[in-house]
């Protein structure tokens, strides 16, 4: 979870957005973390580099918990 948090914050920071202090499994990527499609695209690349999993391959993932489930599969 810590690595994933770091990745999420890197993506937000890269786009000049505010880093998220509270990130948990229920955090919604778009609504809570304010990610748009460019952020999500970057997020997939960085997660893939770290975990070798394309979390969006089967469709859009909405929450941090859904990402964790795919990584831990």
């Amino acid at each position: 979870m810590e690595t994933l948090k770091e990745i999420i914050n890197t993506v937000l920071k890269n786009r000049g957005k505010k880093e998220a202090v509270m990130i948990n499994a229920d955090s919604h990527l778009r609504n809570d973390l304010g990610m748009d499609s460019l952020d999500l695209a970057e997020l997939t690349v960085r997660i893939e580099a770290a975990y070798d999993v394309d979390v969006f391959a089967d469709g859009i993932v909405r929450t941090v918990g859904e990402i964790l489930a795919k990584i831990e599969k």
Partner: protein, 411 residues
């Protein structure tokens, strides 16, 4: 001209004079229309031999795999096409050689393969007149020393070869040499002319020294890099800098002193622009099965500057445009913006398939300053590029990857 060097290749520790070239040609007993070699000299010698014999020559890249050769030729082994040379050549002087190759038999043609990024390379054949359309002869060219900075089996390399060959010049290999050796070769051999891609020139930067012997710099094969122009003028203080537009299909077509090409009167009815794409009339092209229509669509996207005379700027290759979630991104534009950032030596922008947006923009940056970081690159780019054009992944490398033609690798 007796002792003049014809070709020097420091990577192969080879130096061949014009006299040695004559001797080597006079000894030839076999001819094979297929030319595949990793030796630049062997390729040049083979081309000259084909012209003297009036036989077709088919150039295969030295690094084509057996599978590629089989697909192109029909068999893996091309040595079975060897045949005896029909007559003894008996060349006496280099002037004799130049006279003979200046008017090869009408059957002579040179066939090469387009360096397409997808599918099997396509065959294009040129006659002597189409391949030498832009060769200039005369006293002003007699003492030129050419830096050879292209793949010898591709169109741009052939343009340099014929220009040097038909004027009895010296050719010095620069292609694939490390930066320090390139500079050494230019200085030691007093190279006067260099024709190369913008990528080649960028690898010579920064301009922390001067190379005064060079009188002419030609840039071609990729989008002209205006940022580099100033740096080139520092490095080559005595050089006139020209930008050329050439293609495997048509050879050299246009030249200009900046990035806008004006179509000369003679060519006006053979060039047109439709939907921002450049079309060339078939009469200016070589021969190929791929040329089915009267007008050949070049796949080059251009911007029209004026109608009379028709003047245009190259924007990008049509197939280079990257589709990011429905937005078209020109990788050349992104590269130009990155190159303007302090501390960037070179950059390569490429696409990576992405499950969210279809494709995303990535880049490799060779940096001069280790303090240049990914966030810094992004912050700088936000000042000049739309958000969807900014690379989502920036990696730092020692040297950016180039294709076998010496252009930036896009995939």
């Amino acid at each position: 001209m007796k002792d003049t060097v014809f070709f020097k290749d420091s990577l192969c520790s080879l130096s061949i004079s014009w006299e040695q070239l004559l001797n080597n040609l006079n000894k030839k007993k076999l001819y094979n229309p297929y030319c595949k070699s990793s030796s630049f000299y062997e390729i040049f010698e083979h081309i000259i031999l084909s012209m003297l014999l009036g036989e077709e020559i088919i150039l295969l890249d030295g690094d084509f795999s057996e599978q590629e050769i089989e697909a192109l030729v029909g068999q893996k082994d091309t040595t079975t096409f060897d045949k005896p040379v029909s007559s003894v050549l008996s060349l006496s002087t280099s002037a004799d050689l130049i006279t003979k190759i200046s008017s090869p038999a009408s059957l002579w043609k040179i066939t090469l393969f387009t360096s397409g990024t997808t599918g099997l390379p396509k065959k294009v054949s040129h006659t002597f007149s189409s391949i030498t359309r832009f060769v200039r002869k005369g006293d002003a060219h007699l003492n030129a020393v050419w830096g050879f900075a292209y793949n010898p089996t591709h169109m741009a390399g052939l343009q340099v070869l014929f220009q040097a060959l038909l004027n009895g010049n010296t050719i010095i290999r620069l292609f694939q040499l490390p930066r320090d050796l390139i500079i050494h070769e230019i200085l030691v051999n007093k190279i006067t002319n260099i024709s190369a891609t913008p990528t080649f020139y960028r690898l010579l930067m920064p301009p922390d020294f001067k190379l005064p012997s060079v009188q002419r710099i030609t840039s071609g094969g990729e989008k002209f890099d205006k940022t580099m122009l100033g740096q080139l003028s520092i490095m080559f203080p005595n050089a006139k800098i020209t930008n050329v537009y050439a293609s495997t299909e048509a050879g050299t077509l246009f030249a200009s002193v900046d990035d806008a090409f004006s179509v000369k009167k003679d060519f006006a009815s053979f060039v047109k622009i439709e939907n921002n794409e450049l079309y060339i009339h078939q009469s200016l092209l070589g021969q190929s099965e791929q040329f089915q229509n009267e007008w050949y669509c070049t796949g080059d996207l251009v911007e029209t500057v004026s109608q009379t005379p028709l003047t245009f700027r190259f924007v990008s290759r049509k197939d280079e445009m990257i589709n990011v979630g429905g937005y078209k991104v020109n990788p050349n534009e992104v590269e130009e913006a990155i190159r303007r950032i302090d501390g960037v030596a070179d950059v390569r922008v490429y696409s990576k398939s992405n499950s969210v947006l279809g494709n995303i923009i990535c880049c490799e940056v060779a940096r001069l300053n280790p303090e240049l970081t990914e966030p810094l690159v992004r912050t700088e780019l936000q000042k000049s590029l739309q958000e969807f054009k900014i690379p989502r992944l920036v990696t730092f490398v020692e040297k950016v990857q180039v294709t076998r033609t010496g252009k930036i690798k896009r995939s």
